[in-house]
Every structure is written in C-alpha cells, then in structure tokens.
Symmetry: C2
C-alpha cells in the first residue's frame, strides 16, 4: 500500500536494526484518514471471503481493526490483556509471550462474542514473530470458530512470524512489508529484486 509505505518512509524512526517507531500516525498519535484507507484496503483484499467478526488485541490494534470492521460491515472484538480489565470469568484465554518485554501475558475474550460459526479476520498493527497473532488464533480455536485470515498493517518480514503463519496455511495480508532496517534505512519487500 503505497500511501502507507510513503508514510513509513517519511515518519518512521528506526532504532537499532529491528525497532520501527511509527507512533506519529499508527500507534500513539493516529491518523484517522489513513486508518480509514487501511480499513478499506483490508476489505478489498478479503473481498469475497466470508468474515463475520474482526478480532484484534488492545490497544494499538484497535484503530486499524475498527476501520477494517467498518468497511467489512461486521463487529470488532478487541481481546483484553488479563488483569487490566474485569470482563468476568466466562472467557477464552491464551498466553502470549512478549519478546519486547520478555514476559508472558494472558489475553482473553468473552465467550459471548465468539461463536463456533464465526469466521474471524484477525487485524493487528504489527507482525514480527507472530506471538500475538498466534494467541488470537488460539482464542478463535477455543471458541470452535475459524480464522478467515490475518490482516497486518506493518510486517517485519525479516522476522519469521509471517513466514510461519503462511507455511501453516494461514492467509496473511500485510499492507507494508519491511525487508530490512539495516543502518537506519527502511527497505520494503516490494523494493527487493528477489521476486517476493
């Protein structure tokens, strides 16, 4: 998605070789018009696929996921991190390892909002090692529902989460795929001559 790649190139800040800060438009300050375009793009990409719910994880997935749900015409559910909220005991849970903070946390979704006939599109802001997305897939599996695909705003393609998900048969659509951030320079997969 050229608009997104341009924005990342213009405003993204690279820290070290693997941290990309996009908090001027995606996950702290948020550009609502860009979110709308992102939501429309996900709806286009998954056009023709049966989707009954969009699922994301609080907090930074909510903005792009809400826009996707709007354009798909389905409800959004945001999974909550355990301890931070009282959503009752009637929940599906899964444990996610955060590589950023090197700790595990539990994510949960109320059983009332995921049913066995739901076909769920997962949307998140980032895909790196894929831990958060696998956690959400576990929630969907526990509900007996099915995952219709995964929509990601920014994929760090130099980490193996996306590859692992695709290898296991999950359809993953990333609006910007970063091939490398070496020496502070952001290179997108589309710019490589590897045929990706």
């Amino acid at each position: 998605m050229k608009e997104l790649e341009d924005r990342i190139r213009k405003e993204g800040r690279v820290i070290g070789d693997s941290i990309l800060k996009v908090d001027s438009f995606l996950n702290h300050q948020v550009d609502p018009v860009l979110m709308d375009h992102i939501g429309a793009e996900f709806a286009d990409l998954f056009h023709g696929v049966t989707i009954t719910k969009v699922l994301t994880l609080e907090a930074s997935g909510i903005a792009p996921a809400l826009a996707a749900a709007y354009h798909l015409g389905v409800p959004l559910i945001f999974a909550k991190k355990s301890g931070s909220h009282n959503i009752g005991s009637d929940v599906y849970t899964s444990v996610v390892h955060s590589f950023t903070y090197n700790r595990d946390y539990t994510v949960q979704v109320s059983r009332a909002y995921l049913a066995s006939d739901d076909r769920v599109l997962i949307v998140d802001d980032f895909l790196a090692n894929g831990a958060a997305i696998r956690g959400m897939m576990e929630l969907i599996a526990k509900a007996g529902a099915s995952c219709a695909g995964v929509g990601v705003v920014v994929e760090k393609a130099f980490q193996d989460g996306g590859q692992q998900l695709r290898s296991s048969g999950v359809r993953v659509e990333s609006l910007a795929r970063i091939a490398s951030m070496k020496d502070g320079e952001i290179q997108f997969v589309s710019e490589e001559n590897t045929g990706n």
Copy 2:
C-alpha cells in the same frame, strides 16, 4: 443520542446499582457503525469550536475517539498506561486513581504530539467520577495546550465527575446520561422531569 440510548436500553446489563456493562457494542465487542455515528455526533456538537487534536486513554476510549477525530478532521492521540509500553522518557505524565480497581496508575503522552498551541478535545467511553478525564486534562495543561471540551459516550450522572467538570467551566457533552440504575432499571437524565 437516541440511537445510543436505545442500544443501552436493549443490550446494557446492570450489575448492582452502579456498574453498567456495554461490552456488546462499546468496549469489548464494538459496533463500528455506531462508533461512526458517535463520532459524527461529537463533531456536530463541537461544530464551530477550534479543535486540533482528539485525546483519549487506551484502550476502550480509542474506538469512539477515532471516529470523532475522523469526523473532526484532526489526529487522535491515545494516552498510554505506564509500564505497558515503551514510548520513551520524553513524555508528559499524570497519575489517575482507578476506583474500579482501587489503585493508582500513570498515564503518559509523548511530548512530540501535544504542543502549546493545540486545542484538544478529550473523548472517552465513560464518565463517572472523572478521574481519567482529569488525568488527561493534566497532560494537556503540562503541554501548555488548552482543552476545548470533553465528549463522553456514557455519563453516569449519578456520580459527580460530570458535575465537577462543568462547575469548573469545562464543556462536557455526553451522548447518554444515566440518571439511575436502581433495581437494574436504566433511567436516562432526559427521561426525568427535572428539567435537565
């Protein structure tokens, strides 16, 4: 806002005399079309007021605040709860007391996204005692910016947060004002014969 009151009446669940669960459409599962209407309503209510940013607090404020920011044509910022994120040390912070969990937590916003010439509309999902909103007002004050008003989806008018804010001269617009939830019955302020 009649659409919202109808939805609360239909799907809201009252627990005890003061807890209202609206997690089927507002703060766990989210109806994106309702959010869009809520955002449009805030933009209408604050029409003619200079607003340069919308500020909310993660996580459940993000959906209505994003919609408001979209309709106002300005960026959204969501303040983060300390410890859960690494947004650097160059932040404005304030301490908020959670009555639900009976503990204090720190909220923060990067200095980069609040400037002294910003006129900020605060948007949140709930207003009860007003602690979260006062915390956000403190962030705005620390930036030397000004608060253009407060937009709330659901106000528990039987708690005194809204009254306190209005008494101090803050314009507070609530889309649904709940007068009481005694015996599990939700009564809106608009239904009272008190002239409110």
